[in-house]
């Protein structure tokens, strides 16, 4: 299905419980390297939970329990010997609302390398510059790196969040509904950006916006009630859905 692309992440009978409630039900699937994969589905289908299982952000929630495996390059990230700091350095995350820390533009991006102990200004400067260039924000902010990040527009703040996520040089970047707080123009730039970033990174995006999935992704996964209903190349899923539930959802009869 990945047309020659390698699988970067693989879920094996992965289940997640909030207390007694089973949110994800024996999910098995793989995510292709250097591609954009979209996860769509109605609210509460478990798509965000699945995304947050991949960098173990769900660990922060009390009462969460998992079974099964999620493998990153063959290594189960739920093994007891996995270092969360290592894991989250390899898997970056961009949130629904842009996270502009109350710091300068420079310090917002530099927070990522600083977390891993890179503290000297000399080493930080090239990292910040490369990251801001990769998201296309550099020309705009290069003369005002010392200004507060909150002075940027929401769209630019989201680009800044992406720059910070890739400043740790991850392999994978997770996007959790990254455009839901943005206007249509900013949304398009972020979608283009995800496409261009997929040259170097494995990108997984959760979205409730089907047009976004259709426009910006190479593969699409449709989820319902904690199960994967259909998962195929994006064009195929949208033009020729095999499951009637998928068809109902993408034509607006469901969800």
């Amino acid at each position: 299905m990945f047309a020659g692309k390698a699988a970067k992440i693989e879920l094996r009978e992965f289940e997640l419980y909030y207390g007694d409630f089973r949110v994800l039900k024996k999910v098995s699937a793989a995510f292709a390297a250097n591609a954009v994969t979209a996860i769509i589905g109605p609210s509460g289908c478990g798509k965000s939970t699945l995304l947050r299982s991949i960098n173990r952000m769900n660990d922060l929630i009390e009462g969460v329990r998992v079974t099964g495996e999620i493998r990153l390059d063959g290594k189960n990230i739920y093994d007891p010997d996995v270092d969360l700091i290592w894991l989250r350095a390899r898997i970056g995350m961009v949130f629904q609302r842009p996270v502009a820390f109350p710091l300068s533009i420079f310090d917002n991006v530099a927070a990522a390398p600083r977390v891993r102990g890179i503290l000297s200004h000399k080493e930080l400067v090239p990292i910040v510059e490369t990251s801001l260039k990769a998201v296309g924000l550099w020309p705009e902010v290069k003369d005002r790196l010392g200004q507060a990040a909150s002075s940027l527009s929401l769209g630019d703040q989201q680009k800044l969040s992406i720059a910070r996520a890739i400043a740790t040089q991850p392999d994978v970047v997770l996007f959790d509904e990254p455009c839901s707080a943005l206007d249509p123009i900013a949304t398009h730039t972020i979608e283009d950006l995800m496409q261009s970033l997929s040259e170097h990174y494995t990108i997984i995006i959760v979205t409730h916006n089907m047009q976004q999935a259709a426009r910006a992704s190479d593969f699409t996964m449709f989820m319902l009630d904690g199960n994967i209903v259909e998962y195929s190349p994006t064009r195929e899923l949208f033009t020729n859905p095999k499951d009637t539930r998928t068809e109902n959802y993408i034509t607006g009869k469901l969800g």
Binding site: W86, R97, F101, P102
Partner: protein, 282 residues
Amino acid sequence: MRNKEKLVEILLTLIGLSSVTVLGLIILFIFKEGLPAFAQVGLWQFVTGTRWSPGKNLLGILPMIAGSFVVTAGALVVGLPLGLGCAIYLSEFATAKTAAILKPTIELLAGIPSVVFGFIGLTLMVPFIRNFFGGPGFSVLASALVLGIMILPTMVSVSYDALRAVPPVYREGMLALGSTDWQAVKMVVLPAARPGILAAAILAMGRAIGETMAVIMVAGNSTIIPTSFLDPVRTLTSNIALEMGYATGLHRQALFATGVVLFVIISILNLTARVVVRGKTR
């Protein structure tokens, strides 16, 4: 109906104004009673004079000004790190259950009468300081320790609220970068909460500089400028409280003038602090 509405409005306005009026009257009264002393002693002489001996008409309050400053600074040195550390623990590291027990306990400290703090200082700290560090025990150090504990509730609860007001997405964003909890606190949560923490420090400072009874009981109250932390000290508030009972004439006016000086100092500190806080918020 409309008349009733109007009446309520007027009534509430009057009530609102009355508190301002009371403040205005207090200021007016202190200044009226105190200003003659400035006129007679001379403002500069009064503020910079190093001898306070009302019997000989020597009325200089520099020792008390110095005393108030050094005792307040000492209290902040003790209380700020303790209070902030406690607030960080409660807000960022303690489980909900622990915080639910600890926070009300700390706030209970605020309900203990200051004379009790003074009594504890007098019976525990003063002898301890006398035995282990020397000097009379009644000292800047004893006052700073007692006041440092007394400002804890203010410091803890105001900075705790500031920390809780930091959007959770900041912490999440940091943890997603692979930060430890402490890195998230240090790099993002504390900078975000800084204006609130400064406000906590200001309130705590106001509490320390205004406290009277507890300080009287442990400070020793001699009218000399302290040169060591083990020296006895008298604050502006203590000066008024200790002597007002028997003072007459110029002496009495000088005590009111002490109040004027205290009022001006507190106003300046508050104003500076407010400007600082506003500057940091921007």
